[in-house]
């Protein structure tokens, strides 16, 4: 029997401390908010420091392929911190999705990805759930043609990893230079994670892997991303709860801190309870992904649990802040928008419950 390690190791806590220090320094609320309205929605300087100097981009990549030989557990800790700060960096798209898709292939792109020299994106709609059929919106016949909508972190990518189908080889993953694609940013609900429609019209492409191996590489990427997203969601919920507790301790009405009113205390106690549960599922998913055991169930449970908790925590935060919570100026809305978008990312909670019912044999 596996005995999962659900705690954070000392090494993971050290990594957390460095990431948090960096984000506190370079991505405070004012800076993140200001960037959402600038012409450069990604903070590429910060991304370089995080990916290359702190080595966050190469955590899941083995040392033999140019990475740091850590695992999904450490990557999860980075995502927790990114959730706490909603810093605008393409970590999910590049260091998680694209990297996880390439990992089983050992492709040459892994080394520059791991070192932070290269930023890539996996060309799938952000809503694609693990276990979905291989996408067929792009045809591969010598060159690539077709469109993929709502690709996360596409506008920061120099290379796309594109799932496409060809008549002769069936499903495949292809590498395409971003200059060979048309990237049209859409106006996103989540202001700190950009999405774009990506169009290929006879784009030059290098096959990475073809056939069933391509299908399993894609599914493993989606599974990894869905499982690790639960850590980002845990970070979002934790930030929302902590911020709200702090605010309510200092906000006086009726001659008392409003945080002393029981109806509010009980709502916060409920959020705390939800957070404890969400964190346990997120840690379990990270440990399962790192150890390669029980992955499908661990991922489905983590998404079914952590996604609604992040939404609930950020929604409660808006309500309990009163008028301030409704303002553009307060960073809360960035977390709400992220949490709600994350609920759709890699499958909704309902979708994961349906999958889970099959996995654990609860027939309809």
């Amino acid at each position: 029997m596996n005995s999962p390690d659900l705690l954070y190791s000392d090494v993971e806590e050290d990594l957390r401390a460095s990431v948090r220090a960096l984000l506190t320094d370079r991505a405070d609320a004012a800076a993140v908010l200001a960037r959402t309205e600038s012409t450069e929605p990604y903070d590429l300087g910060l991304w370089r420091t995080l990916a290359a100097d702190l080595g966050a981009a190469g955590l899941m990549v083995p040392e033999s392929l140019g990475g740091h030989g850590a695992s999904a557990r450490e990557t999860a800790v980075v995502l927790e911190e990114l959730g706490r700060s909603v810093a605008p960096v393409p970590f999910l798209g590049s260091a998680v999705l694209a990297t996880a898709a390439l990992l089983p292939t050992g492709d040459e792109l892994l080394s520059p990805l791991a070192s932070g020299e290269l930023t890539a994106a996996l060309a799938v709609p952000l809503t694609t759930a693990p276990g979905s059929p291989f996408p067929a919106t792009v045809r591969a016949d010598g060159t690539l043609t077709g469109q993929v909508r709502t690709v996360a972190d596409a506008s920061a990518a120099a290379t796309f990893v594109v799932p496409a189908v060809s008549t002769s080889d069936g499903p495949g993953l292809y590498a395409v230079d971003s200059s060979a694609a048309t990237v049209t940013e859409v106006v996103p609900l989540d202001l700190t994670r950009r999405i774009a429609d990506v169009t290929f019209s006879g784009a030059t492409a290098r096959p990475i892997v073809l056939g069933p191996a391509a299908e399993s590489a894609l599914d493993s990427a989606l599974s990894t991303a869905a499982g690790l997203l639960a850590s980002e969601q845990t970070g979002l919920a934790e930030w929302a709860l902590t911020e709200t507790v702090t605010y309510l301790k200092g906000r006086y009405q009726f001659g008392r801190p409003v945080g002393g009113f029981q109806s509010l205390k009980h709502r916060l106690a409920n959020l705390y309870t939800e957070l404890v549960n969400a964190r346990a599922t997120a840690r379990y998913a990270a440990d399962a992904l790192a150890g390669g055991y029980d992955v499908p169930i661990a991922v489905a449970v983590a998404q079914a649990r952590a996604a609604p908790v992040a939404v609930h925590a950020t929604e409660e935060a808006v309500q309990l802040h009163g008028g301030i919570g409704m303002t553009w100026e307060h960073p809360l809305h960035l977390y709400l928008k992220r949490a709600k978008s994350d609920e759709l990312a890699f499958g909704t909670p309902g979708r994961h419950r349906t999958r889970l019912a099959e996995l654990v044999d609860l027939p309809g």
Binding site: K265, R353, A357
Partner: protein
């Protein structure tokens, strides 16, 4: 195999569970430090990480070894044991922990009173010093399993002239002592799992005091923190507890299924699995120390989940859900939340959000002691207990 599992294997080789009498086997297991492995050496354990306990229990169960019937002595194992460990003298620990663990001595909890429930610190049962003894008089209520118990953990008022939290003292009380009367109290399930307990000039030797005079509140806090974890964070396999009962019915009875019930079932499956993992996580953290207020969140979630699961079970059963197995008043030997039938489970689960601290009180504890929010304005803090309105 871990070292502990080697020890279990060695122990089983030397003590055949098929031939050795049950109590001899359990006593030997205690003496080998394989009872509660996270307890200190000499007291049934070997100071191992708490997370190892489940593996040890599983290894014994697999070998067909008798267990200590934890359902008969939940209060002893979950609450009295850890409190005696934390506050007991060497003599008290040596005297009580072994028969407690083996189940030779069953414990009950004499805390709640008619005038002191959520506000436990308001309790009125008086203990007055008389030579080497204390003389105790008062009434306790909702005392689970008092009819089976040889011993009780008891909190009393020893000084009415100071504010309520300061004037209490904690005792280990022999339930067979003269002056103790136990009367059944019937529950909504029909049975009488709990009781009223009347104490009339019961003599308790000072040697049975746990902790210092006036420090009863502090000692009781340890009991209560342990109680919340022992109810809310039981180590379980996936689909253990109430969920397992429900999924079994679901799989065996296709005619009962609807899409709407299925989605609710899967939602609860997810909640149960996440609570199970949160319990594992808490136990991994607990290796370092005794449970803190964080454990309250486990109990709140557990109560809500059990109530939702047992409610769903009745709906799932349809017409059968209209029936009840037996309303006869009995005084059960043990407590099993998942025992008997659906109607019983549904009704018994209602107690989960009341016993061991109501969910409202636990939310106060989480918000004040974990999140640090301001406490309610208190009218009772600096007033001598005897002057409180009641």
């Amino acid at each position: 195999m871990t070292a502990l599992q080697d020890q279990v294997a060695e122990f089983l080789a030397a003590h055949d569970p098929k031939t050795l009498p049950r109590l001899d086997f359990l006593r030997a297991r205690f003496d080998a430090g394989l009872a509660w492995v996270y307890f200190p050496p000499g007291l049934g354990g070997q100071a191992a990480p708490r997370a190892e306990q489940a593996g040890v229990d599983a290894a014994f169960a697999e070998a067909g070894a008798p267990d200590n019937q934890p359902g008969r002595n939940t209060i002893g194992l979950g609450m009295a044991g850890p409190t005696i460990l934390a506050f007991g003298t060497d003599e008290q620990r040596k005297r009580h922990l072994r028969p407690l663990w083996t189940g030779e001595e069953v414990w009950c909890q004499l805390f709640s009173e008619p005038g002191a429930g959520s506000d436990l610190a308001a309790l009125a049962t008086r203990a007055v010093r008389d030579g080497d003894d204390w003389v105790v008089t008062g009434q306790k209520v909702w005392t689970s399993g008092a009819h089976n118990a040889q011993w009780a953990i008891l909190v009393t008022r020893t000084d009415p002239d100071v504010p309520k939290h300061q004037g209490m003292t904690y005792f280990l009380c022999d339930m067979t002592a003269p002056g103790i009367e136990v009367r059944p109290l019937r529950q909504i399930t029909g049975e009488a799992e709990f009781n009223e307990v009347f104490l009339t000039e019961v003599r308790i030797p000072d040697a049975h005091r746990l902790g210092a005079v006036g420090e009863g509140w502090k000692v009781a806090q340890t009991t209560l923190m342990n109680e919340r974890v022992s109810i809310g964070a039981v180590a379980q396999p996936r689909e253990g507890g109430m969920l397992g009962v429900l999924t079994k019915t679901w799989r065996e009875r296709p005619e009962l299924r609807t899409p709407q019930l299925r989605d609710r079932l899967v939602q609860l499956w997810v909640e149960a699995e996440s609570l199970r993992l949160a319990g594992d996580r808490l136990r991994q953290q607990l290796t370092a120390g005794a449970p803190g207020p964080e454990g309250s969140a486990m109990k709140v979630a557990f109560a809500e989940l059990n109530q939702k699961l047992s409610g769903l079970e009745i709906e799932l059963l349809g017409e059968e859900g209209l029936r009840y197995d037996d309303w006869t008043l009995r005084r059960p030997e043990s407590v099993d939340f998942t025992g008997r039938e659906a109607g019983y489970r549904y009704l018994r689960a209602k107690g989960n959000s009341i016993e061991g601290g109501t969910s409202e009180v636990l939310r106060n504890i989480i918000s004040e002691r974990v999140l640090g929010l301001p406490s309610e304005p208190r009218v009772d803090k600096d007033v001598a207990w005897k002057d409180l309105p009641r």
